[in-house]
């Protein structure tokens, strides 16, 4: 079971406060984070992913990001809304890197690649990928390894229906294993596809329960 705890979070860009709330806690299950453009969804995800500085504490199963950054990061994975990779690297090279870092099982990574129908493109440089293929690659990398918390920023944009179905399957598998999944999406999430454990909305710098 995974538990994400955020306390006394303040995030500012210059003098502009983007996020400010005292406590937010989520356990296992899938959570949908809503909010209009510029409300701070991606910023929140970057904070949880350890990609941007902030005030406050973020912990996964009592492992604090600021105290044990490597242990914390080994429990999370983050798929960006618009992933960017060096265009001279191939999908395989990126996947090999993530497998080595996460000490992940190569066969399960290959299986996810096959499910997304990316196996024939993995030896191509990412500079030749379409935006949908880049998105699929970022999802493959995110689902590689043993992860407690998945942070998926707009995971359904740019991918086709077939890939979205695969993504729903992967998410459901992780939910069944007691993992935590955070999803931000402007599109409605089909309740027939995923059972949501909670819906939150970022409004006026605060996290509200819907």
């Amino acid at each position: 079971m995974a538990e994400l705890t955020i306390n006394k979070l303040i995030k500012r860009y210059g003098g502009n406060t983007i996020l400010e709330f005292d406590e937010w806690k989520v356990n296992e299950g899938c959570y949908w984070i809503k909010g209009g453009n510029g409300k701070g969804k991606t910023t929140l995800f970057k904070i949880i992913a350890g990609q941007t500085p902030f005030s406050g504490t973020v912990a996964l199963n009592d492992i604090f990001l600021h105290k044990q950054p490597v242990s914390y990061r080994s429990g999370i994975s983050y798929a960006e809304a618009e992933p960017l990779y060096p265009d001279f690297l191939t999908g395989t090279e990126l996947l090999d890197y993530v497998i080595a870092i996460r000490k992940a099982d190569r066969q399960s990574a290959a299986e996810i690649t096959r499910l997304f129908k990316m196996d024939t493109f993995m030896h191509h440089q990412t500079g030749t990928y379409s935006s949908g293929m880049l998105k699929k690659l970022s999802l493959i990398l995110a689902f590689t390894g043993t992860i407690q918390l998945y942070i998926l920023d707009e995971p359904f944009i740019t991918i086709d229906k077939e890939a979205a179905t695969i993504l729903y399957q992967l998410i459901n598998n992780q939910i069944q294993q007691g993992k935590t999944i955070l999803i931000s999406s402007h599109q409605d999430i089909d309740p027939a596809q995923i059972t949501l454990s909670g819906i939150f909305e970022i409004d006026n710098q605060h996290m509200l329960t819907c």
Binding site: Q51, P69, L89, Y97, I101, L141
Partner: protein
């Protein structure tokens, strides 16, 4: 259109290359007394316009600068952010050519200004053929870059000839990524940087050739070579910030990150270290000291970028102060304590950033 090109391509070009241009300027004029600059400039112009070799060198420089500007524009055009430029195809050919001419005249302005000065000097000194050659080369370079850009935008749908039939695919482990970026995307900047580095190093050792085997001369030469790498380090820093940010959510520890950085810096500076070994008096102790000095200086330049971000003005001010401080430390034979201080400070700052998620 021209105004838009200037605000996008022009502004970005000078933002990225201000460091390199100012370093060249400082290297040429920074050490002169203000009263001597006019005479010095005159002597350079006369030297540049009077022999076929110097003219060839200058033409090669103009050519490299032109290619640099062209590659910059073409690289920008291939990014999604600049896809709006394709809309310019709808304009008349004459208007398109006019706007690209305007842009390239601005991008090539420093080289064109010096070229015109050389032409005027050549005419004054009756080197009419030399003046004519420089004019022709100048026109050909400007015309060439405009033509290539125009064709790229208007006829980009035509399949290009595949020149790289023989592709050697080597595995690219993580520690090679910055090197690959440098070789594939910043090849010209790398060549210019290495040329400058070599010229600075050799120039200083020759200038003080009568001072015997004083290690300080070689260290100052090495310092100028280090400073010549500052723009390249800034380019690689930008690459790592924008395209390697995905690894910031991966469990990579601080020491592995530092190891990758130091290994890259070592490989980057290895030719200069070999140059140093071939010229300076050697002992194991001095070699260790020089290695520490080089790595600490390069890591400090990279750390400075972490602090000032992509503010090139601040970065240049830092380089200037850094240069003076290290020069003073070398002259007073305190370069080893300073190197230790720099490397410890840089590592401490990297550690601080790592624990604060300021990656």
């Amino acid at each position: 259109m021209l105004r838009l090109w200037i605000r996008t391509f022009g502004k970005e070009f000078y933002k990225q290359h201000a460091g390199l241009l100012l370093i060249i300027f400082y290297a040429l004029f920074g050490w002169m007394k203000s009263g001597d600059i006019t005479g010095y400039l005159h002597a350079i112009l006369v030297a540049l316009c009077s022999t076929p070799i110097t003219i060839a060198v200058w033409c090669l420089f103009m050519f490299l600068y032109g290619i640099k500007a062209l590659i910059f524009v073409l690289q920008k055009l291939s990014t999604p952010v600049y896809s709006f430029v394709q809309n310019s195809c709808a304009a008349k050919k004459k208007d398109q050519l006019k706007s690209w001419t305007g842009l390239y005249l601005i991008l090539l302005f420093p080289a064109l200004l010096i070229s015109l000065s050389i032409v005027v000097t050549a005419i004054v000194y009756h080197h009419y053929i030399n003046a004519f050659i420089i004019c022709i080369i100048m026109i050909l370079i400007v015309w060439g870059v405009i033509k290539v850009t125009f064709r790229k935008i208007n006829y980009g749908f035509r399949p290009s000839a595949n020149l790289s039939r023989l592709k050697i695919s080597l595995k690219k482990p993580r520690w090679t990524w910055s090197l690959h970026y440098m070789l594939k995307k910043q090849a010209l900047m790398l060549i210019i940087c290495k040329l400058l580095s070599f010229v600075f190093f050799t120039g200083i050792t020759l200038m003080f050739a009568d001072s015997g085997d004083d290690i300080r001369i070689y260290l100052i030469a090495l310092l100028t070579a280090l400073i010549a790498h500052s723009t390249l380090i800034a380019a690689v820093w930008n690459f790592e910030k924008s395209l390697l940010s995905f690894q910031n959510s991966l469990p990579v520890n601080l020491w592995m990150r530092l190891f990758h950085t130091l290994l890259f810096l070592f490989i980057l500076f290895a030719p200069e270290l070999l140059l140093y070994i071939s010229k300076a008096p050697l002992s194991v102790l001095s070699l260790t000291g020089v290695l520490l000095f080089s790595m600490s200086a390069l890591l400090t330049l990279k750390t400075a970028l972490d602090i000032v971000g992509d503010n090139m003005g601040q970065y240049l001010k830092f380089i200037f102060i850094f240069f003076l401080t290290v020069m003073f430390a070398i002259l007073s034979r305190q370069f080893l304590p300073l190197s230790l201080l720099l490397i410890v400070s840089s590592i401490s700052y990297h550690r601080y950033r790592f624990y604060k998620s300021m990656l």
